[in-house]
């Protein structure tokens, strides 16, 4: 039994920024994009680089992302984090940063991410081929290459497709129900001028899109775009003197269950069951208290599993939960309000944008896609192939 040392309300997100373009392509180098979103996020809070004493990032550089970025920025952090768990990395950074700020280890943390896979591909650069080792690792350390890649599974989609196949066989979940998640998410994207895909779609459109790995269709899959984002966190005390309405970290939880899909204990249950339970316990809240959800949507099945594992519906009930369109605008369970990885942007690790959107909803700055009266938001990252999850529950001053 883990003893919870709650840091509820001790730290807050006080500034966010992202760089996303409707055509999915961003100009400028990765460092330029990182600098752009860091400056923007700090300025929105009324802070500057001189205030930063903690830094987290998990991409870029040779092998020490946060160390290499700190040098470039000219900052000397007393707290650093390069934790890499794929799409959930930034939720973990927030969890770690909140604990560090609560303990007094540091005071102002910047978390940043930039990747430009779409530009790289347009320039003729290599596309992610699904897990061949990049050198420096022993074969013993990358078992996927010995035991999965030879079978010709497309990664990551093939792994998520296996999970979808199992959920459908075990619980009767249908392709139409999964497609409804894409339809609802697209409805949000129509309200976001920076979204890559803004035209409304129907369930029939999803089912008619090409199938690359059954049972998932192209429109069950996230985008590949350029994108960058940054988050600034500080103590609750200091947050109250800054420019933005603080989004307090009420609870956080992390868990991972496997690395490669053939080692996932049960393909219908993710580590979200544990990370979510930890986060809700720390926040002293339950699933029914959430006003707006940002759930990682690498694929439609990723959302369905998160809905069940976080307790928004029962195990096996995700399909019937989503089919009335409640995830969309005006629905009873607004989720992925930016348009998600399915339609807004997806540079490879969407977890950053889940957090940015959750904070914006609590700041009340989402314009036409604002969820009225949003006081509690959840950002749930999922990295690898349903491998590593991290759940962050954020709340306004009223929730403290």
């Amino acid at each position: 039994m883990i003893r919870q040392h709650s840091v509820r309300g001790a730290a807050a997100v006080v500034g966010v920024a992202d760089a996303v373009s409707p055509d999915g392509v961003l100009q400028g180098s990765l460092r330029a994009l990182e600098v752009q979103v860091i400056r923007e996020a700090l300025e929105s809070a009324g802070l500057s680089l001189a205030d930063v004493d903690g830094l987290a990032t998990c991409t870029g550089g040779m092998m020490m992302p946060s160390v290499e970025l700190a040098e470039y920025l000219g900052v000397s952090p007393v707290w650093t984090d390069s934790t890499q768990t794929g799409g959930s990395s930034f939720e973990i950074h927030v969890e770690h940063a909140a604990a560090a700020i609560a303990s007094g280890a540091c005071e102002v943390v910047v978390i940043v991410y930039a990747q430009t896979p779409k530009s790289t591909f347009k320039r003729g650069g290599a596309r992610f081929l699904g897990g061949l080792p990049s050198g420096g690792a022993d074969i013993d350390q990358v078992p996927r290459v010995e035991w999965e890649i030879p079978y010709g599974i497309q990664l990551p989609i093939g792994a998520y497709s296996l999970a979808a196949s199992r959920h459908m066989a075990q619980y009767g979940t249908t392709s139409e129900q999964l497609a409804q998640i894409a339809v609802s998410t697209r409805e949000w994207a129509t309200l976001n001028p920076n979204a890559s895909l803004r035209g409304p779609i129907t369930i029939e459109d999803v089912l008619a899109s090409p199938m690359t790995a059954s049972p998932l269709h192209k429109l069950d899959c996230c985008l590949v775009t350029d994108g960058a984002g940054a988050i600034v966190m500080t103590s609750a005390e200091r947050a109250r003197d800054l420019r933005q309405r603080p989004a307090y970290v009420l609870g956080a939880g992390t868990a991972h269950s496997h690395s490669m899909i053939s080692q996932m204990p049960d393909l219908t249950v993710t580590a979200g069951r544990e990370s979510g339970a930890k986060a809700f316990a720390a926040a002293r809240l339950g699933p029914g208290d959430v006003d707006v959800a940002q759930l990682y949507d690498s694929f439609t099945i990723t959302v369905l599993l998160a809905l069940e594992d976080l307790g928004f519906c029962g195990k096996g009930e995700g399909g019937s939960f989503v089919e009335d369109g409640r995830l969309g605008p005006g629905g009873s369970f607004p989720a992925q309000t930016s348009g998600g990885g399915l339609a807004y942007t997806h540079p490879g690790m969407f977890g950053m944008f889940l957090l940015v959107e959750a904070v914006r909803q609590l700041q009340g700055s989402c314009g036409p896609r604002q969820v009225p009266g949003a006081e509690v938001a959840v950002a749930h990252g999922c990295g690898g192939v349903l491998s590593a999850t991290s759940t962050i529950i954020l709340g306004t001053e009223a929730t403290l």
Partner: protein, 136 residues
């Protein structure tokens, strides 16, 4: 040695006995002497109990399909002329779940719960890759 017709698995230090047995189309798996469970994939310790005394022994390799996905695009360029093909997770009667490809029937006909038995595809260096086909 012939020309490889798919991406062929490298051999990790601990898995040499596994690959040697495949030369005779035999499936061997590690068993933990401490907790008596079967271990997959090959390791230097048992992931169930942490024990380090692991013994190789023959396995039957039959099992039931746990999950399946038909690949309509090749996961590797060398497989371009084989699509569509079925990638599956199979729960072996030996007590472990492995990734495999189910052949010997139409890819779309492979289904969860289906009973399958081992079959082997020869690799360019004389090793064989474990695959599965319908039992009956």
């Amino acid at each position: 040695m012939s020309e490889p017709t798919r991406f062929e698995p490298p051999i990790s230090a601990v898995s040499e006995p596994y690959w040697e047995a495949t030369r005779e189309r035999r499936l061997v798996l590690q068993h933990c002497d401490s907790c008596e469970r079967t271990v997959w994939y090959p390791r230097v310790l048992c992931p169930h109990c942490g024990g380090t005394d692991l013994t190789w022994s023959d396995a039957c390799g039959h099992g039931a399909v746990y999950a399946v996905s038909v690949q309509y695009r090749p996961g590797h360029p060398a497989l371009a002329d084989r699509v569509p093909y079925a990638v599956a997770l199979v729960d072996l009667d030996d007590g472990v779940r492995v990734m495999t490809s189910v052949v010997g029937c139409a890819a779309e006909d492979v289904h969860i719960g289906q009973r399958v038995r081992p079959t082997w595809e020869e690799l360019s260096d004389g090793r064989n890759l474990l695959m599965h086909e319908p039992e009956a």
